[in-house]
């Protein structure tokens, strides 16, 4: 088990070059998770993939004719003059980006505070999550009340008119607030996990040596926090692309996102093949994007 000297010098801190020699956790540890995925995810997904090559017959039946029609239909939409689905995907992307950025902006200072200054870190962290153990539907409806100009607090403060003029309810603004709220812990937790292990004495030392706080932040804190930022961003961005309940409840159900679109194919239109094709496109696109991110992460891992 002893590594050679040559290998030893290769083992820099954070060296995770794939296949790098030297002792590590055995690969078979991945087996249980992979088996689970294969059986309970890939097989069902295979069903969806196969259905995407089918045709809808009658009310909702599927004829497995191995046709590319559904994909052709989507292709024509995306690149054609009448790009309904493309617009919907774009709006979804916009929502996801704004949601991710807003949770990052709101969540980073909070995670930072807990990781660096707080006395009862775990407790504070848990307090971030506890609200999310009430049903998310209830929280969304609670926001309906808060954003309502008739909200008792507003009435008591006499600012109902002011709130009304800003028209929050059933507007995209309400959706963004709801999204930022509901996805906050998904950003805070990974951020915290990354920030928590930072040695703050290094930061303080840098400041003692004359660095202004922001430079210490940029040079020391930020790079170490980056994996957390990326993990958090992923955890927010990805589910956001499928989000459709918050726009329904807080946005007055007047907007249509990818999640609505796909659900509509399976439920109201009962066109499972088209819905499957739409889903495969989303899954494919996002998986590729994630793999790109993963390679970037891998390269970053090597350079840290």
């Amino acid at each position: 088990m002893a590594s050679t000297e040559a290998e030893a010098t290769e083992h820099r801190r954070g060296d995770t070059r794939a296949g790098a020699g030297g002792p590590r956790y055995p690969g078979w540890l991945a087996l249980p998770a992979v088996t689970w995925y294969l059986l309970f995810f890939l097989v069902p997904l295979g069903f969806i993939a196969v259905t995407s090559f089918g045709e809808v017959v009658g009310f909702s039946d599927v004829a497995y004719t191995w046709t590319l029609d559904n994909y052709r239909y989507l292709w024509d939409d995306f690149f054609g003059d009448f790009h309904l689905y493309r617009d919907i995907y774009f709006e979804t992307f916009k929502l996801s980006v704004i949601g991710t950025l807003s949770t990052l902006v709101i969540g980073f200072p909070l995670a930072y505070y807990i990781a660096r200054y707080a006395k009862h870190k775990t407790l504070l962290l848990l307090l971030v999550i506890v609200p999310f153990w009430t049903s998310f539907l209830i929280r969304a409806y609670a926001w309906l009340i808060i954003l309502d100009p008739e909200f008792p607090v507003f009435r008591a403060l006499g600012i109902s008119g002011f709130v009304e003029s800003h028209e929050l309810l059933f507007t995209p603004k309400a959706v963004y607030i709801g999204v930022a709220y509901n996805y906050l812990p998904l950003m805070v937790l990974p951020l915290y996990a990354a920030l928590e292990r930072i040695d703050w004495s290094l930061v303080e030392a840098a400041q003692d040596l004359g660095d202004p706080p922001w430079r210490a932040f940029r040079r020391i804190t930020l790079p170490l926090a980056l994996p957390g930022v990326l993990a958090g961003s992923l955890l927010v961005f990805i589910p956001l692309t499928g989000e459709y309940i918050i726009p329904v409840i807080l946005g007055g159900n007047k907007t249509f996102y990818a999640g609505n679109l796909i659900a509509q194919q399976f439920l109201e239109s009962r066109d499972w093949p088209l819905g499957s094709a739409l889903a495969m496109v989303v899954i494919g696109a996002l998986t590729i994007a994630l793999l790109v991110y993963a390679r970037a992460l891998g390269r970053q891992e090597q350079h840290s």
């Binding site: 002893a2 870190k121 998310f136 996990a193 889903a279």
Partner: protein, 273 residues
């Protein structure tokens, strides 16, 4: 130091933001009237109603149990995956990565329906009459949550460097004792974070649960959704308030217990690690 105070003030605001809707829910759980927007006197009757409604108490119990089971399984699977992945060769690692990511990016409605079809078909072939139930919900939840845990744990595992692990292996320790003595203590916050996320996702999940549940199992979100289309009834607010009180108590107790057993890791990180 003003930075610290500013941040502290900001943290307070952030918590106000987090708890504002909760406060609304709790306050209106005590509302004597049915309309959630108008206060009609203080009353605890909705709590009684909620507790006396078997659909609510059963749904709550089921949701908690499934979420807990799912969190445990997801943590085990996800952590193992996170440990194994970083140093795998790319040709194995990339497909597994892709698979894990796909579980996260698949639109929930799609997975829900696909899983339903799968369970029913599998049940047919295995001769099981009613294959759907709380177990199918748990299985489906783990698919997603194992990836969540893996993501969070891996981010931490990768950034904390593996010198200590390598040293441990070099010294002849097997994976299990290395994990127990070297990795786990350092990974614990990430595993905890991942587990909490997994619990939360499962507890709050609606779409997947709705489709793969059997006739006997109704989780709390499914119950609430069935009622919610009419608006939030005060009994539902009362249920949420009770759930909140319960979790707050659990959290505080767990925190105190953990602290007493000396596992509090506030600021205690080793330099360079």
């Amino acid at each position: 130091m003003t930075g610290r105070r500013l941040l502290g003030g900001y943290a307070v605001l952030a918590y106000v933001f987090l708890y504002a809707p909760i406060a609304v829910v709790v306050v209106f759980a005590f509302n004597g009237g049915r309309d959630v927007l108008y206060w009609q006197g203080f009353s605890t009757k909705w709590f009684e109603t909620a507790l006396r409604t078997p659909e609510i108490t059963n749904a709550l119990k089921l949701s908690i149990l499934i979420a807990l089971g799912n969190a445990i399984v997801a943590c085990v699977l996800g952590t193992m995956l996170a440990l194994a992945l970083p140093r795998m060769r790319p040709w194995i690692r990339t497909p597994i990565d892709a698979l894990a990511y796909m579980t996260l990016v698949t639109p929930e409605i799609v997975f829900a329906i696909a899983a339903l079809v799968f369970f029913v078909q599998a049940g047919n072939r295995l001769g099981i009459d009613s294959p759907l139930g709380w177990h199918t919900i748990l299985i489906a939840h783990v698919v997603f949550n194992a990836s969540v845990v893996a993501l969070v744990v891996r981010a931490r595992f990768v950034s904390m460097g593996q010198q200590l692990e390598e040293a441990s292996f070099d010294l002849g320790a097997g994976p299990l004792s290395t994990f127990r003595q070297v990795t786990l203590p350092r990974l614990a916050p990430a595993i905890l974070a991942g587990g909490l996320l997994a619990f939360t996702f499962s507890f709050d999940d609606f779409i997947t649960s709705f489709f793969v549940t059997g006739t006997e199992s109704e989780t709390l979100p499914i119950y609430i959704w069935g009622q919610l289309r009419f608006g939030v009834t005060p009994a539902i607010n009362a249920t949420a308030a009770m759930m909140l009180a319960f979790t707050l108590v659990v959290v505080v107790v767990a925190y105190l217990v953990l602290r007493r057993s000396g596992q509090e890791r506030d600021g205690a990180t080793l330099p360079g690690v």
